[in-house]
């Protein structure tokens, strides 16, 4: 009897607490607010799974023969051997390998343990599931094409199949997924809307909150202070999903092709880890990456293509203007005269303008030049700018007329009536996808369905030609020619 009472373990309340913290997530043992004893006890009960942070990776026979150790970071899926380093670990008193790739989320060493919940599922207790009326209170209407696409998307996700929405910029993708999200939420599923960029999350979050007022929504991006981890709907950057594991039943990825996602395999890994096995993924994009495009065209992946904007006007097509060696001019402190003329003309018409440039230094230089040339209300933003969110919201309010920006604002930003130029469109930074996205900033609202989009260049590049061709093609598919 005495023995039995001693191995009683924790009071049931504690398990609920552990479940609350760990369910659907994966943490390093040291960042948990739980004591080692509690974790050990849960492991013994089979509620909690613990695994090593860094695991050896032996892919080929050659590795075994040469005895060169290779590593894999279990948290971020990094297998680039250059980004592993060793340190003399103060905790285990040995030489530890650590992953430099996901260092910003807390260091993962060989001796780090990753902890996740593998016990019983928690009961769902969201009030809105039992609510009878619709969850989505968005009062706009979808066009015929949009509602057909929304229906197809909904059906595919119901059957657990992935789906590609290939829709031109400004076709109202976000509104199109509302019915599908509503359906999934009603079925008691956990849904995540992942996007590659903080700016896009910041734009989407208020829209989702307005559309689903009764649903707890948590927004995760670098610097967000969100603690509502159990929210059934999560809007997140792909980076932040790395702390989730085996959690979501349905995933929406907005702007699949955006730069970090298709360059950085960590983000793909993070999304796969955050999803439950077999969870359907809905990809949304105006310019899908080659593999998805091929899968869709060969019929492996269900999908739908939308070639018309929601307001039914064609996409504005880019124009090319040669301005000579723009880099040299700007370095010398001169403004290309064609650019100047265009900006003056647009200032006269009281339009707002995005000026896209290829690098941070160029954005600083050009902003200064424009301010000196007497363009009032000019500001520059780039990824390292601490005031960038403030500047973008000032631009939205109309306080800023000309916003000089790097490619960070190439997508997800909707400002009605804006016109766009790209200075140095021949720079290799601007690939065809980026240029299509940039062109897509123009004419998004029904009041201003058209506008200029000008590529100032020093020699046409393949990317520029392809981008223009793609837009023309889409307009043709939309029945405008």
């Amino acid at each position: 009897m005495l023995l039995l009472s001693r191995s009683k373990g924790l009071p049931p309340n504690d398990y609920a607490n552990v479940q609350h913290i760990l369910h659907g997530r994966e943490f390093r043992a040291e960042e948990l607010p739980l004591s080692e004893k509690v974790i050990k006890d849960c492991v013994k009960k089979g509620y909690v799974a613990v695994r090593s942070g860094i695991v050896p990776l032996n892919e080929s026979v050659l590795d075994l023969l040469t005895d060169r150790k290779k590593w894999l970071c279990a948290r971020c899926g990094n297998r680039d051997q250059e980004t592993f380093a060793t340190c003399t670990c103060g905790r285990c008193r040995k030489n530890c390998i650590y992953c430099r790739h996901c260092l910003t989320m807390g260091i993962v060493r060989s001796c780090t343990k990753l902890v996740t919940w593998c016990g019983p599922e928690p009961a769902l207790h969201h009030r809105f599931i039992h609510q009878n009326g619709p969850l989505c209170v968005w009062d706009g209407t979808l066009s015929d094409e949009q509602s057909a696409a929304a229906k197809a998307l909904n059906q595919a996700l119901e059957c657990g199949k992935s789906f590609l929405v290939w829709a031109v910029t400004g076709s109202g993708k976000t509104e199109m997924i509302y019915p599908a999200i509503e359906r999934q939420l009603k079925n008691g599923r956990r849904v995540v809307l992942a996007t590659p960029r903080t700016d896009v999350v910041r734009e989407l979050l208020p829209r989702m909150r307005a559309a689903f007022p009764d649903v707890p929504i948590s927004g995760l991006y670098a610097g967000s202070e969100e603690s509502n981890a159990d929210a059934p709907l999560v809007v997140s950057t792909a980076h932040q999903l790395i702390r989730y594991s085996n959690c979501f039943d349905c995933i929406f990825i907005d702007e699949v092709d955006a730069f970090p996602y298709h360059f950085d395999r960590m983000l793909e890994f993070a999304i796969r880890k955050a999803a439950r096995p077999g969870a359907p993924i809905a990809y949304l994009s105006a310019t899908p990456p080659a593999d998805l495009k091929n899968d869709y065209l060969s019929g492996k992946l269900c999908g739908v293509m939308l070639a018309r904007r929601y307001h039914g006007h064609p996409l504005p097509e880019p124009q090319f203007r040669w301005i000579g060696n723009w880099l040299k001019l700007i370095r010398k402190g001169q403004l290309p005269s064609l650019l100047c003329e265009w900006l003056r003309a647009k200032m006269g018409q009281k339009r707002q303008m995005f000026v896209f440039v290829s690098s941070v230094t160029l954005s600083r230089d050009l902003t200064e030049l424009l301010q000196r040339a007497g363009f009032s209300g000019t500001a520059g933003v780039h990824a390292e700018d601490p005031h960038r969110h403030a500047k973008v919201s000032d631009f939205r309010k109309g306080k800023i007329n000309i916003l000089v920006t790097t490619t960070i604002l190439e997508r997800g930003v909707t400002v009605p009536g804006v016109e766009v130029c790209v200075v140095g469109a021949d720079d290799p930074v601007f690939d065809d996808r980026a240029l299509v996205q940039i062109s897509g900033r123009v004419g998004r609202s029904a009041e201003f369905p058209s506008g200029d989009i000008i590529f100032f260049h020093n020699g046409k590049t393949m990317a520029m030609v392809r981008a223009r061709k793609q837009i023309e093609q889409m307009n043709q598919n939309g029945g405008f020619r």
């Binding site: 340190c87 670990c89 103060g90 430099r100």
Partner: protein, 253 residues
């Protein structure tokens, strides 16, 4: 070769030196190195190693800054003579240090290795010159002692940044000190709190006491701010009767 800090793949400039030198250890790229502010040995404070060009000339007394004059007057120096610092504190090195120390990216120390070694060579050379010109009796080389962390802090941080920096010098490291008292972080204190006279949190490890007897000790740490830590460590070392105690830090704040 990728830059250790920013990850950019910038080729080194081709010079005779880079051509003839053995393969480089991984380091920082040119643009990152340009953003680090090296302190020239000619215009540094002779006692704390800070960059005197950044101070008003009124607060400098013949190559010695005001703070060091205060220390001298206070009589708390004991065996502690002077500090050498490699970089001046700035916003960029703050980021690097943050990643190195608080995020645990200990491999960044490799990027500092060259400059640390160069400073160490210079310190030894000065020492030799002094000996040759008869200023000091012993040419005794330095014994490298990193500033230790408390056990609790070590477990929290996972590594001792001072020890990692000391390793870059390529000298045998003597962990002669132990930190017996766990205190709040110096970096979370203000100047006044740092300078309060307090008991040393360090203790000399008995088995190493004989090693430092009559020798020069070089303390290694990541950052010199007010010099309070250094003096407390030197005080603990003085139980082992070293000849003198100097220090080398990566940064002068």
């Amino acid at each position: 070769m990728h830059c250790l800090f920013c990850g950019a793949d910038q080729p080194e400039m081709l010079t005779f030196r880079s051509l003839l030198r053995a393969a480089d250890s991984p380091g920082f790229c040119r643009s990152c190195r340009d953003r680090l502010a090296l302190i020239g040995s000619q215009n540094s404070c002779q006692l704390c190693g800070r960059d005197l060009l950044l101070l008003d000339s009124g607060t400098v007394h013949g190559h010695i800054c005001n703070d060091c004059m205060q220390w001298k007057k206070s009589g708390r120096n004991g065996l502690y003579e002077r500090n050498h610092a490699v970089y001046q504190y700035n916003a960029f090195i703050k980021d690097v240090l943050n990643q190195f120390k608080f995020r645990g990216d200990s491999v960044l120390a490799c990027g500092f290795a060259n400059e640390m070694k160069r400073s160490f060579r210079r310190i030894r050379k000065e020492q030799r010159l002094k000996w040759q010109s008869g200023f000091i009796r012993s040419s005794g080389d330095y014994i490298v002692v990193p500033i230790p962390l408390s056990m609790k802090r070590l477990a929290e941080r996972g590594f001792n940044q001072a020890e990692v920096l000391a390793e870059t010098l390529g000298m045998p490291i003597i962990n002669a000190l132990i930190r017996v008292r766990h205190e709040p972080k110096q970096s979370k204190k203000n100047r006044r709190e740092r300078l309060i006279v307090r008991d040393t949190p360090f203790r000399l490890e008995n088995e190493y006491a004989s090693l430092i007897l009559g020798k020069n000790v070089l303390l290694i740490d990541d950052i010199y701010t007010t010099g309070a830590t250094m003096r407390l460590a030197a005080y603990a070392l003085s139980k082992g009767n070293p000849l003198k105690v100097d220090s080398l830090t990566l940064i002068h704040a």
